[in-house]
Amino acid sequence: MKRTNYQFKTSAITLIIITIIWAGKLFAQNDADSFTDDINGIKDQISGVDERLKTVENDVSSLKKIKFSGYIQAQWEHFENPSVYPANYFSVRRARLKATYEPVTGVAFVLQPDFTPGNLSLKDAYAQVNEPWLKTFSLWMGQFNRTDYEVEYSSSKREMPERSRIIRALYPGERALGFKLEASPQSVPLKVQIAMFNGNDFLTISDVDKKNDNPTNKDYDDFKDLMVRATYQFRLGHFGSLDFGAHGYFGAIKATSTDLLDSEYKLDKTVKIGDRINKQWYGLELQFYADVLGGMAIKGEYILGKQASVGASSSATQTITQSALANDTLFVTTTTTTTTTVYPGIVRDFSGYYVYLIKNIGKKNQFAMRWDVYDPNTKLGSSDIGLSDHKYDNGSESESSNTVIEDNTSTTTVTRSVLKNTLGSGTDDIKYGTLSFAWHHYFNENIRVTLAYEMPFNEKVDKNSNGVGNVTKSYTVNGIAGKLDYSEVFPQNVLTLRIQAKF
């Protein structure tokens, strides 16, 4: 019996142990299955997140290919020139938004409009391709800056509110349409630029009759202009650097008149309408940077050559002769007066230069001074301009014969004797020197405040027997007539207070 009980107890205990083990295994199996399910669930979630992350990364990487930058220059200016009215005003000088799209490394598309009140203009629109092998050459095509130091130096960084007078005269609007090949080897601090442009970009041609023959900035003739520039940099250790270079401009514009004058208003030669009139100039540039109690720079450029202007004819002016207000509507009657002012083409010898002295004062302030000179006609001095000796001279051509001038709509025939009595040197030939000062304060990386004062000095022409300058210019401000007499340096100073926000 005892044995039976013992056997029973042993069997029961064994059964219980087996049951416990089986149950344990069963539960363990359930736990493992559940754990595996959880892991798989988390894996699926991670895969989902990963997939979404890749989509976001793709989107972000596409967006990163587009970069926006720009700046706004708001300013107040005060003019001391009595012929300028209003004499002070607020304006938005520049409001640029530059978009750069780089679909792949080394290729960029740039679009930069300028928004100013009442005006939207296209500044930059070009494609730039950098070759990936030598990493030396880049090709640009579209509308971009001409290849000159001050032209390429951004307005947002420039130390004076406006570029030098000579640069503004030679490169109006700074940009031009064409292509450029730029070589900048990585191992040599040399840069060579060769560019070909339409050449007449942003020039107003035939301004006498207030019509612009060059309104679309497409091109005005079949002649293309070539620009070449090379610069080299000498590093002067921790002291600074000396950069120097040269550029040449080899261009042409079509003749629009049969008479072509030289700098002294003498008939140089007769040409056919559509013939090539060359304009060529050469420039030297230098930029010296020195770390003397903080950064300091002396920068300058000297340019000389021949500039061509095309002929223009008949001037039409509209004057309001009658106006009346009726039923809230202003009725205006105008009269058109046509005067036959005629200018044959002229090629003038010119020269000019600018020199900047810039000193950084601490990290936040900068002082700049510039002296720039532009002589649009080096053959005529102060004692020549406006004199009868330097009026139109028909040379060996007959005074009674005609010169033909063509503009965008018509052809005008003028007897040379008429030109002889009306055409001569004047304000376009007067040399200017301009002294400018500017103080910049950088509030932070985005905000710069500038206080600048520009003092232009006109060349003083001789006086006639009546004690009046040989060159004068009439104006009317608020109904009061006045006259600028170029035998004196008359006030033309400009005070500018500008705030620039850049991003």
């Binding site: 792949v104 490394t105 990936p132 130096y153 951004s154 960084k157 900048s184 601090p189 590093r235 921790h238 600074g240 650097s241 930029q287 940077y289 020195a290 770390d291 109690l293 903080g294 950064g295 300091m296 720079a297 810039i358 000193k359 950084n360 004062i361 601490g362 990290k363 936040k364 302030n365 900068q366 002082f367 000062f437 950088y442 932070n444 990386e445």
Partner: protein, 280 residues
Amino acid sequence: MKSSTRLLQALSFVLIAVIGFAFMPGPKKITVKGSDTMVILSQKWAEAYMKNHPEVTIQVTGGGSGTGIAALINGATDICNSSRPMKRSEIEKIKERYNSTGIEIPCAKDGITIFLNQSNTRVSELTLDQLSGIFSGKIRNWKEVGGEDAEIRLYGRENSSGTYAFFKDEVVKADYAANCQTLPGTAAVVNAVKNDKNGIGYGGAAYATGVKHCKVKKDNEGKAYEPSAESIKTGEYPITRYLYMYTANRPTGEIKAFIDWTLGADGQALVTEMGYFPVK
């Protein structure tokens, strides 16, 4: 008063202001920004310097060499750390803003290390051409360089990093492969390779813990070297570079004192201690 006298007075005022500002005492707070590769070294320098100069505060942040150089140009930092030399375009920006060419101070040397997972036993050395092929995506499988039949997974730095630019210019010599995962900082690259048996990454030697250092040789015939003080000093290790500090102008005051100290015996001892290589 004559206008020439007024002009003279105005110029005198400007001259006095210029000299006055120039001799103003430098800041007691120095900001250092830039290379992620140099962050741990720069922080160590700052800690040690501030310990001996409690009146000076040095704030060190990373972000990458490109970010640091941009901050220097914008005036947002006093010193920029960079693991690559400044580009010509960046020097031009310094010129435009500060009318100086920037001051370059080589302060340490570094060998860019190739990180492999420790379980990758079959690959222990690569040539520069193989590395170029791997990181440009031409070589996609480990078996092409003597490893197992497995896809190579690439880890690298973001494009604001000097290490990214240096490695691209000196080794890859092409665009990085599209599947190269970019990570913020060398530490993140090391961590990614540590957890991926088919991974390969690059970065500063100072961060390389828990991963295998791949030996590198210039070509098939050459001898492969690991980045070490000796191989970097002799130039035998082929991916060697200087690490730089940049200032916009010649440093003065506390900034100069700090830079001089980093280049001195104490500063250079920390360079070695942190796993970089001294310039002297």
